[in-house]
Symmetry: C2
Subunit: 756 residues, 2 copies
């Protein structure tokens, strides 16, 4: 379910830290000797992944629809298991039983002022063989929509995010008792019915507007890669910002005998019925609306006048699902660590799809398979990774990160003790290396990217990303940073793929990787995301699939083999400092906005500038937001900066002169300390109203869905104008940072002892 989650340019850039990058030619965390061996193994590794294998694996895995509960989902899992085994890996399937609704009845029809019945059906495309596998295709629907049958006037709500409802208020339009129609994008889809229900709507349609996802972007399938008139984006609308995974077993693995909630108690199921529709089906509904004109920025790419309503368009919406439990098949392969078997480097990509899923997720899964195949060869040649490597092909990511979440919940204690890092992918395209993750791994992954060849240029993947950052920089300052900062910035992670339980529930340092930014398309979560489409329009020669295998595989090996885990804390400290400045600025902007708006209310600006023929409602007067004391955060960042620099000085010293210190037996204890550094950022009680999310620095937004909120407790309290909670969260976040600083300080001390 990756695409809308990923920012378009994630290797973006910021301010100089003042510290030199890792010594050139050296590998962070390795002795000179172990680095030499590592470089040789890595070079051998990168020669193995093959575009032909990638293509054939994709052909097989996407040959039939393979959503959770389908025969081919299980078949793929068994095939993957056999593959891992054939590479010589120790592999098995772990199963979980989860709630996954599949549609039984779906109706969308206009009942007034004229009538029209939506097709809700994606037609097969001649020349695209898998597009006609209708018997096995999951119909177009939004999983975890509650059952319902409603008829009501329609209201167009733009993206359906909170700001859109504020705009509707200014237009004097309410959605109470209405069915809303929202366009995809602007937020993760699950936010749309959630916010609609909060405002009193009784049903929700979500459609793909051609402005974001259709002919506005290019020729549509099969003439081009973009979403055709009847293409529909399936997808989950579960309230995942509350918790992902099985709705019936929050916090625990959905094993056979797990204690389960009743379906009626599950808080993550929507409050109102929801269905997704194509722009072909949406056009007659939208064209039948009257009422105020949609604000200029709400107007999409359909050849119509966009009105808001309510009505006279009246819509009948019916959804009914089969709410039975389905079985998940997680495929887990393992390479035991030779020296540190209880330190785990984990790598995953999901295998389930909404339909055939050539791009999502198979384009990310087949590089993972190639990595595993290559490791099999290296093992035969004598490679012995220091740490244990675990390769996972998750099931049930699409509905709700089911397979990864249940596995993490089932193995939480062991992972808490052993996990060094989790590396995720989920789809892969052409273009630029795109990285998000824990900033303690920022320097590390930059070093890896410097060793990867971009298939389209004579440049490294790192260099190409840097040149793009220069090209895309919106200010001279950003351009200067792109040129001068030693490392490219990595994005913070929100949600939308299987890294979420690792990073945000149990605190494992995480990276999410993929290539992208060239080409594009509109087959996301449709029947047209298939082998024919991918091999016609996307990474047709699979050279970027190979590049992803080379990138992630190299990163996994380097993390598994390093004498000392190559976390680096100065970039994390600097980045958190920036986040603190952002939330301070956010408060100030809120104050400025309210102050100015109240002044304009006093001046009569809103009534004076209202067109009497287009009635509008002045905004409500608001209390001025109070000043908050950010001192605890500022002090925590200061302490972290000092400690991170101390660690860095100690590290540089330990790695000097061949770095023999790193190979001392006491380095094991240092590694154990380091594993706790990300864990220390978790709060025991979790975020307000969603305790499953425990990371105090990174979380998906409560009202954005996939979109990240950094310092989420503080930032969302300010956004929601909950000032007392903001003060509490400043304290809680500062406390987590202090705990992290304390771990880093302990690690620095251990390092100083290693190399006094």
């Amino acid at each position: 379910m990756h695409p809308t989650a990923r920012p378009l340019a994630a290797l973006c850039l910021g301010a100089l830290l003042g510290l030199a990058p890792s010594p050139t030619g050296d590998l962070r965390g390795f002795t000179a000797e172990s680095a030499k061996a590592e470089r040789e193994w890595e070079a051998k590794f990168r020669a193995i992944p093959s575009p032909d294998s990638l293509r054939e694996d994709m052909r097989r895995l996407s040959a039939r629809p393979h959503h959770v509960g389908s025969p081919y989902d299980k078949d793929n899992a068994e095939w993957l298991l056999a593959k891992f085994k054939s590479f010589g890996l120790d592999a098995r399937i772990e199963t979980f039983d989860v709630l996954f609704p599949t549609p039984k009845e779906r109706v969308v029809e206009l009942v007034a002022p004229t009538t029209f019945r939506a097709k809700l059906q994606e037609p097969p495309v001649p020349g695209d063989p898998t597009s006609s596998q209708q018997a096995e295709q999951l119909p177009t629907y939004n999983a975890y929509s509650i059952d319902g049958d409603v008829t009501a006037p329609l209201v167009y709500v733009n993206f359906g995010v909170p700001a859109d409802y504020e705009r509707l208020e200014r237009l004097g339009v309410s959605v109470k008792g209405a069915i809303v129609i929202a366009r995809y994008f602007g937020s993760w889809r699950g936010i749309k019915p959630k916010v609609a229900a909060e405002h009193g709507a009784i049903g929700c349609l979500i459609y793909s507007d051609p402005k974001e996802d259709g002919y506005t972007h290019g020729d549509v399938y099969p003439q081009g890669p973009w979403r055709p008139r009847d293409g529909v984006q399936r997808g989950s609308v579960m309230d995942m910002p509350l918790y992902p995974g099985d709705p019936l077993t929050p916090g625990v693995g959905a094993t056979k005998d797990a204690k389960r909630l009743a379906v009626s108690e599950a808080p993550t199921i929507t409050k109102i019925p929801v269905l997704p529709i194509s722009y072909g089906d949406a056009q007659p509904l939208l064209a039948a609306l009257r009422g105020p004109m949609a604000p200029a920025e709400w107007r999409g790419g359909l050849g119509i006048t966009y009105h808001v309503g309510p009505g006279p368009a009246k819509v009948h919406l019916r959804v009914k699902s089969d709410w039975s439990l389905k079985t998940l098949y997680d495929v887990i392969a393992r390479i035991p660590g030779a020296a540190a078997p209880d330190e785990w480097v984990i790598r995953g990509n999901h295998h389930d799809a909404w339909v055939n899923g050539a791009e999502d997720p198979i384009s990310g899964l087949v590089p993972l398979l190639e990595e595993a195949r290559a490791y099999g060869q290296l093992l035969k040649q004598g490679w012995k990774p220091r740490r244990t490597i675990i390769y996972a092909a998750w099931d049930g990511e699409e509905p709700a990160l089911l397979g990864s979440t249940e596995w993490v919940e089932a193995h939480a204690d062991e992972l808490g003790a052993k996990a060094v890092a989790y590396l995720n992918s989920d789809t892969n395209n052409r273009g630029y290396l795109d990285v998000g993750g824990s900033h303690s791994l920022e320097a590390f992954i930059n070093d890896v990217a410097r060793d990867i060849d971009d298939p389209e240029t004579r440049l490294s993947a790192w260099k190409r990303a840097q040149l793009r950052a220069i090209a895309d920089a919106s200010t001279a300052d950003l351009r200067q940073e792109a040129r001068q900062r030693p490392d490219l910035r990595i994005a913070a992670l929100g949600s939308g793929s299987d890294y979420t339980p690792f990073l945000q529930h149990i605190g494992v340092a995480t990276l999410n990787l993929g290539f992208g930014g060239e080409g594009g398309g509109g087959i996301y979560h449709s029947i047209y995301d298939d082998f024919k489409w991918f091999t016609t329009f996307d990474d047709t020669s699979f050279v970027y699939g190979r590049a992803l295998a080379q990138t992630v595989g190299t990163a996994v090996m380097r993390l598994a083999d390093a004498d000392v885990v190559p976390y680096q804390f100065t970039a994390f400290a600097e980045t958190v400092g920036r986040y603190v400045k952002e939330v301070e600025k956010l408060l100030q902007e809120k104050q400025d906005t309210v102050r100015e708006r109240n002044r304009q209310l006093d001046e009569g600006v809103f009534t004076a500038t209202a067109d009497p023929r287009q009635p509008s409602v002045p905004p409500a007067r608001e209390e001025l937001p109070p000043y908050l004391s950010f001192a605890p955060l500022d002090n925590a960042v200061d302490a972290l900066n000092r400690t991170a620099e101390r660690y860095e000085r100690a590290f540089t010293k330990a790695q000097a002169n061949g770095g023999a210190a790193l190979a001392k037996p006491e380095a094991q204890a240092l590694n154990a300390t380091l594993r706790q550094s990300e864990r220390a950022l978790m709060s025991a009680t979790g975020l307000p109203r969603r305790s499953w999310y425990r990371h105090q620095i990174y979380a998906p937004g409560f009202y954005t869905g996939y979109g990240v909120k950094t310092l989420p407790g503080v930032r969302e309290a300010i956004e929601q104008k909950n000032w007392s909670e903001a003060e509490q969260q400043i304290a809680a976040t500062a406390q987590a940072l202090a705990a992290h600083t304390s771990v880093v300080g302990r690690a620095a001390e251990q390092l100083e002892k290693l190399a006094p």
Copy 2:
């Protein structure tokens, strides 16, 4: 031809000057005694204009198509003449004979890869009686297109401005030998064929895209006010930035015996054939294009994928016109000045239209008529304006400002000696008072606006405009200025209406006024701009027509009656200082852009970020623009500021204590000096390559058309990278400012003698 010329918010705002506004309750340039009388006459005046008269006059004047050369054009002129006479005014018709082509043959057809013949016809609308007057309607065409018959591949060029051709170069697309299709907006329409021809195109189509002018904005006519599928924008494509008026008699009145160029020698006729088309006709042509995707910001509101071409769409375009001379009928009415008959205040609005023209120009003309009717009543009650007032209903504005230009050229010497000010309007709508003009009249027109009631609120027109400026301010600084600056800024004038010959050819201080900014529509230059449309969707109760009559009529009276002409030079000086800063910044930005682009070329940014599947051409390396010495301009502005402040001090002193000094006989000499102040801003040689335009501060852009270029000689030389010309124009502009400063200094001296 007004709408695209007028910036949406002209009463915009800037920085504080530090000088107090005119003393409250006083009228600038009046003694206390004359001010009291003036206020009484103005109050009487403003009670007279009547919505009912406005409605009936519009009904009559827009009852039939009345373009230049049509029977109803002449009929309207004679009716207007009779009206003026009936008000007791001395009126007559002045005629000129001008080249005005009307269409004989028009063909636009797609000849490959499929075929389609454009309708080129606006259908009548049931319930709109005048829309069916097809026999009298001028067909859809662009006047002053050269005759031609061409068949060639089509290329979409966005707005068809120079920057768009730079973008095409980056896409590797040439228009040489092609027919281009450009959308309306982004520049005045005449620029599009001009720039296309410069790039080697052999034909040009201009269409109205619904994104700018159609259903994207609202319901289309007759359901709503916006441009329907088959609506076409007629209009002139003459090269008016070279010179307006009759192409055959540049610089002289087109009287019977004037010396005329041959049509083939006329430089303002297009180089390639041009036709305007509707979006209904454009859609099949655009949909048949392939080649690169149009850049995102080029994509319009049609429900298609926008490609650039060239081809495979191939188009046949044929245009042939009747090139005979037609007769213009300018209606000129006069109220002789009682005390200063040789000082003229001139007020005009055109009467010709493209078709019925209820909005353009009749909505601006009928207030003018009401002003004249009211003056007739005041004259009978004993009002004796000090100066001569001339009211003009111009013919032939639509094709090329023909009637005003020929009249100004024919009376240039007399106007140079006598004209105090020219006040123009051209269409009127609902909303906010919108003013452009000479900044020496900025304070004056602000004072008038404070005395006008806005019909929709309980506010003055000035107050409502100020509150809107606060609402629309894009920065806190602009908001502060809107709140604190005593006067609202007025816009600089480019072209697009009859003020151009007055202001830019002979240097008469000018104001252009109208209400607008509420509602809107898409009937501009179509058959749907008629009485039915206007009275259904626009100023339906004619209260804004009355407000315009009250505003302009008050301004005319006050200018005609003032003892001393109320020019004020500090705002002009401040404004010119801002323009100087702008051109300095423009050069610096050009330098920064070239420096950065060259650096990116060195770094390989463009090749590294090119998608190999979408070939693109790196930009050319450019020489770094040199530094220019702006010192002459900076010094000239400094001197002007000092002198303007000296004048202002002297004025304040002269108007103090009842202002008896202003009534002294010597004030006549002061007024004679003041009349030369705007004239002094003209250069004898005119602007480079377009000597007709002589104002050194305001001109229409050579590549924008209507859009103003302030300090045009300097600004356009920098834009065109003509560095030696930029240096010359800095000198020429500084010289004009010095000449103006010298006039203002002389006036200050005279004032100081009046009130020592």
